[in-house]
Amino acid sequence: MARKRFLLIMMFISLFIIASDSALSIGLRTGDIPRYIVAKPFGEHSFTFIADGFGRDVRPYFIADPDLEGYVSLSEAKVVGPSLKEFTVTIRFPENITAEPGMREILVGAEEMIDEGKGIVPKTKVQYRVNIYILYPEKYIDAHFSTQNVNENETADFGVEVSNFGVPDIKVLMVTVDIFNSTNDRIKQAESGLHSLKSGETDVIHVQLDTTGMKAGTYNATANVYYDGSELPLDGSFRIGHMKVRVVNYTQAIFAEKINRFDVEVENEWNGKIDSILADITIATPSRNLTARTTTESMGMLSKMILTGFVDADGIEPGEYPVKIELFYEKDKSVHRGTVQILKPSILAAAGNLWLGIGIAVLVLIIILTIINVIILLKRKK
């Protein structure tokens, strides 16, 4: 009885799960924020933001770790338009920066102010990340190695971006680059000159590598960054290219009794632009050779493209025939051989010719009718 009464009560209890039905959006505008800020004694950086609540009130905020909080301040928000608030975040570093070293972040954002109401209420917040690098008290660098693909016998320009994230300046900075072949034997070495790098600064150290005598292919490279008696190795790889364009794919089947589009997909393996490239296509059939020349194009380095020509297969028996594709580029030439299927004329191809015929017939009819009209007019008596 008690159970039944409980259920009866439950049946009349209402549960509301209703969400808000008003627009819920937020935007935050700002100018450029650098990738990171290096924390230096007495350094000061300000960033201005405009928050848009799209009709709702917004509240600016920032979030920072406790040891960074003391460096950050938020200005009074200024109303600059309907539901628009402008505010500035200022980061001031003291003489003695005691925050934990490394890359740190401060989140600066705005949230919309909503009435919690009933049900499941969605709400929006938007924020930007301001990265701060707190310098290490000892010597400390961060470095990135970038290589360059070159052609045979060219000089490669390698770069190592070095950032001094330590408080002390680096007095002697040098980079060597060792080149290894596929069996991991060191075959060449190049080095930079001597450099120095102040605390908190970033520089790119260039190393030139003369590839004379090195064959085309992919090589491993290790850059060693030497800084005031310490060393940091960085790995990379690069490619020495050669002027070669190869056929990747081509039209495998065409139709007899019509002019066919013939595509040749080619790949430029040369690490440079090719100003002029075309292909000659020759399909050897028992009755005659079908030939076509594609348009002349230019190709970007290490890229692919399609060259298009048109082959007239009128009067050719269907079957499989050998095809020769000759590529002409700059002063070089390469040849690709394969086969092509010549198929019986398709219904679609026949339909194409039919429509062309109808078009011509209609045109002739219009001309004849015009002439007849003129003649009738001339012969008609007053």
């Binding site: 259920l7 009866l8 439950m10 049946m11 009349f12 209890i13 209402s14 549960l15 509301f16 799960i17 209703i18 969400a19 808000s20 039905d21 008003s22 627009a23 819920l24 959006s25 937020i26 935007g27 935050l28 505008r29 700002t30 100018g31 450029d32 924020i33 848009d52 799209f54 989140l107 954002g109 949230e111 909503i114 919690e116 109401g117 009933k118 049900g119 499941i120 209420v121 969605p122 709400k123 929006t124 917040k125 938007v126 924020q127 930007y128 990340r129 003129v374 007019l377 001339l378 008609r380 008596k381 007053k382």
Partner: protein, 221 residues
């Protein structure tokens, strides 16, 4: 005034056609010669500086934000009532155990309306026990791409960057900021996330108007 003869008319007709055709041919020839198109301005000798500065704007919008399950009770023969807003289905005993609730067709739809890609975190201010109460209540979400390609992975490029916990999977609503999309794109046509909601209301749940806030936080990247 004397009538014009048919012969004269025929000559005039032929002349008109000839002038019309000739004019068309000459006009087309001249247009081709212009090369840069028809314009009243000497574009070859015009110089100017255009300076444009585009501000960065991170912005999101709940384009669909009404999730209305209505008002109701748990059927006397059931211990709980489970409903969800998923377009793709999910556990539900709405037909047999939910009395009076109208059911909701749609969940929340979040759109990136700014010009910056963002990461998206979700957080609820209440868990199931705090929101619904009773014995074994459930309050879950399920996140999917509303438009294909809306959420990428910043480390491995295009592809689903949806957080594994909620990627087309029902999981308890997070009560701390939890990433649900690694890179929410700005491209029109690829900038929508669907957030489906599921609730299980036990027979001894809290009663009256229940409230929870789900906050979507967009962080510019």
């Amino acid at each position: 005034m004397a009538d014009i003869s048919n012969k004269t008319l025929a000559v005039l007709l032929v002349l008109t056609i000839a002038v019309s055709l000739g004019g068309t041919v000459i006009s087309l020839g001249k247009l081709r010669g212009l090369g840069t198109g028809v314009t009243g301005f000497d574009v070859l000798n015009a110089y100017g500086n255009i300076s444009v500065y585009v501000e960065s704007q991170a912005a999101i919008n709940f384009t669909t934000n009404a999730t209305n399950f209505g008002t109701g009770t748990v059927h006397e023969s059931c211990t709980s009532c489970t409903m969800n807003t998923s377009w793709t289905g999910g556990a539900s005993n709405q037909a047999t155990c939910c009395v009076g609730f109208s059911g909701a067709d749609n969940g929340l739809v979040l759109e990136n309306t700014g010009n910056r890609n963002v990461t998206v975190d979700l957080q609820s201010n209440k868990n199931a026990a705090q929101f619904i109460g009773g014995t074994n209540p459930l309050f879950k979400i399920n996140v999917t791409e509303g438009e294909s390609g809306s959420c990428d992975n910043t480390t491995s490029g295009p592809g689903s960057g949806l957080g594994a916990t909620f990627n087309n999977t029902w999981a308890n609503v997070p009560t701390a900021d939890t990433e649900v999309c690694d890179r929410f794109n700005i491209d029109a046509g690829n900038d929508e996330l669907n957030i489906s909601i599921s609730v299980t209301i036990p027979e001894n749940s809290q009663t009256g108007s229940l409230q929870a806030t789900i906050t979507a936080t967009a962080t510019a990247i």
